[in-house]
Assembly symmetry: C2
DNA sequence: CAATTATTAAATTAATTTCTGAAATATTTC
DNA sequence: GAAATATTTCAGAAATTAATTTAATAATTG
């Protein structure tokens, strides 16, 4: 990797390295979820979830669709799914 | 992943997600390097490199051996090598 | 259209991280 | 043992990130 790629990669990793954001990504591995459903699972405020989602959107990791007044979020960068899967295999061998 | 694993994993990712630290890890992929050699390659101060190395040591990612007044650093957690390799395949397809 | 629900935006504060420069430690060499 | 080299430690300033609170937007329901 040369410096530009390292910078891009470190930004990506940084966006994944906050516990709330990493948990959001894990939750979104197999299904799409609304902001409220995510808020319930990570136990913080709506505004806080919204901010974290925005960071993940900014990185192009997730996207959303709107239905009524719900925003459903999902992972659109399949490489992230691969990476999370690899992390699980390497670092969480039990399950 | 349950919450404890997510916390541990996010700490690990955070330690890798600083551009200087990620570059250090890339440099240490195939060889061990002294602090001074690393300093030359990442172009910052000695103290700064030393601090970043300490963070990686604290995570158990790297270890060192002392020879004369040089400290040679190397990656000891093989899973990190695997993970970096995977990141390269996924995000840096051209080489 | 008023009330409700879901979400976002903006501003403020709090917390954490990073860098820098100087001083300290350890080893080697002369 | 003094000087030189390599690295670390420390303390503070600067920068970045995160959380909180409040207000705003947007769609839905009665």
């Amino acid at each position: 990797m040369q410096d530009e790629q390292i910078d891009a990669m470190s930004k990506l990793l940084k966006s994944m390295s906050h516990p709330i954001r990493l948990k959001i990504l894990c939750l979104l591995q197999d299904k799409e979820l609304s902001v409220g459903e995510i808020r319930d699972q990570v136990k913080t405020t709506n505004a806080n979830v919204s901010q974290h989602l925005n960071i993940l959107r900014g990185q192009g990791i997730i996207d959303y669709r709107k239905d009524a007044n719900f925003i459903y979020n999902k992972i659109v960068d399949k490489r992230i799914l691969d990476l999370i899967k690899k992390m699980r295999v390497l670092f969480c061998p039990n399950f």
